[in-house]
Symmetry: C2
Subunit: 313 residues, 2 copies
């Protein structure tokens, strides 16, 4: 089966054909090469390898400075598929919760400066010492609600990233796509009036609603409700698509993600589902791998990443 990602019509020079992904849709999440490169090197690396997108983390962004990073990213003609990250809303006291909101407001500004397609929200877990998961989830809802008006005004779509349930305690208590979309529907009903965006091949792409989701294969691949929820998200709420693989065995809860093809996730099937649901953005490769990929020469990592994207996504 072939799902064309171009705008259709014969003789379209930009049209991508075949089973595999459009190679122009690969994006580098900077976490993948975070140990050995700074952001300037990552931008140069993407240009050198013909990678068209980048998703910086804020620590790398702060090192280089937002204005300088924006200048270099524009000069390299890279699409910023997302800024990682805002969120971490739950806290033991009101001051902590305010600080998280303020930090996320600053992240919105940074994302706007970069022209990022979204600000990824890793929403935070249960505050230390608490067993109140429902309370933490309510704090997440309040935190997003507090940030949303500024994000909307700044033209920065917020992307709630449901994290794998193994991170519910300490990183994100939003753990399924259904739960993330319930938040979207509650805080941004209808999802209308969003931010215009263009696919890398010039194909039509629905505007981004102010609040949507980041679908990361690693976090959602196991979900029995996944297909229906991707369809439910639809073109306006699908803000980002992240790829890597689930290794067997997985030796560490945080830093043992696999390169595409090395694990059990049917990435091609998943990519087709998000594209069938209207996603026209890039496929962002985000790999936490302290023992393997982080130890390698980043030029090797980018080369393998390109080949695996073509073969498995």
């Amino acid at each position: 089966m072939s799902i064309p990602v171009g705008s259709g019509g014969t003789g379209d020079g930009n049209r991508h054909a075949g089973d595999g992904p459009d190679p122009r849709r690969l994006s580098l999440n900077t976490a993948t090469v975070k140990l050995r490169w700074n952001l300037a090197q990552m931008i140069e690396g993407c240009a050198r390898h013909g990678i068209r997108g980048i998703a910086p983390w804020r620590d790398k962004l702060a090192e280089l400075g937002v204005a300088e990073a924006a200048r270099r990213i524009r000069a390299a003609d890279l699409t910023v598929t997302g800024l990682c990250r805002g969120g971490m809303f739950p806290a033991a006291d009101a001051a902590g919760r305010r600080a998280a909101v303020e930090d996320t407001l600053r992240a919105v500004d940074d994302a706007a400066s970069l022209g990022a397609q979204c600000l990824v929200l890793v929403v935070g877990g249960v505050p230390a010492g608490s067993k109140d998961l429902a309370g933490a989830r309510a704090q997440v809802r309040d935190g997003i609600a507090a940030v949303l008006p500024h994000a909307r005004a700044a033209g920065v779509p917020l992307a709630i990233e449901p994290l794998h349930p193994m991170y519910a305690a300490d990183r994100a208590c939003v753990n399924t796509l259904a739960q993330a979309l319930d938040l979207c529907d509650a805080l941004d009903p209808g999802g209308a009036g969003g931010v215009a965006r263009t696919a890398v091949d010039g194909a039509p792409w629905a505007s981004a609603s102010a609040l949507g989701v980041a679908v990361d294969a690693y976090h959602v691949w196991w979900d029995p409700m996944l297909d229906a929820q991707i369809e439910r998200a639809g073109p306006a709420r699908l803000h980002a698509f992240h790829v890597c693989d689930w290794l067997v065995p997985t030796r560490d809860l945080l830093e043992d993600r696999g390169m595409m093809g090395d694990g059990v996730i049917d990435l091609r099937g998943l990519r087709r589902k998000v594209e069938a649901a209207g996603f026209r953005g890039l496929h962002e490769c985000e790999i936490f791998s302290s023992r393997d990929w982080w130890q390698r020469d980043p030029d090797e990592v980018l080369g393998v990443m390109k080949a695996r994207h073509a073969a498995h996504c």
Copy 2:
């Protein structure tokens, strides 16, 4: 708030009062002390500590022999809250799938010999080398369907245990209570005509449907749909309730579970929910802990387990 677990009425000498759990409802899953004790020692340990229930794993059962184990468990007047485990249905070929079914049929017989309240099914993950999660799930459904008639005839309720999504690849591709209950509804519609059972305090308890679920706090605590699904399960499909705790940080995917009270799970809230939904069985403590609890003197472990059950469940 107090939820009485007795049969009600004033002057009932067996009635348990207060916020905490009825101490007679604690059961030892043999995994908790597996490194240092054999099954005979576990049975003696339960008697010595006034623990009223036990849930053997089959490796320990095989060492002692089923008939001898059954004799000793009866002599100690222990309730067998479950036999661990059948399942592991998906396989790369038909011979592998047949072997899993045959092994589970033998487990049904063992569970019957022990008078176990259920046979726990850990359903299995994705066969090695496969990326076909949906196919594995179909194989699970077929495997359970193949075992169910014999289990029904033997009077052994089957309990599908949804495992935490971090085990989807290699241990169980049934990962939420909703998914497990969908299987129950498909294979055992109505759930009627089940196995009679009596609560430890003599309170009325609904018959067990032939196919139900084991609710393990460790596996399900994060689930946004948990409350509704516990209610959906109801008295007839709630076959087992397992407790331990989710540690922060969790250092190993398999063998770093916490003792009740040491983690983030609101166990008292969860216990109340399953009891409000009609569960009248025991609270089975199952802790995989290669670095901590498995290294301790099992008599110490049982003492702490009793105290933590009273304080946190």
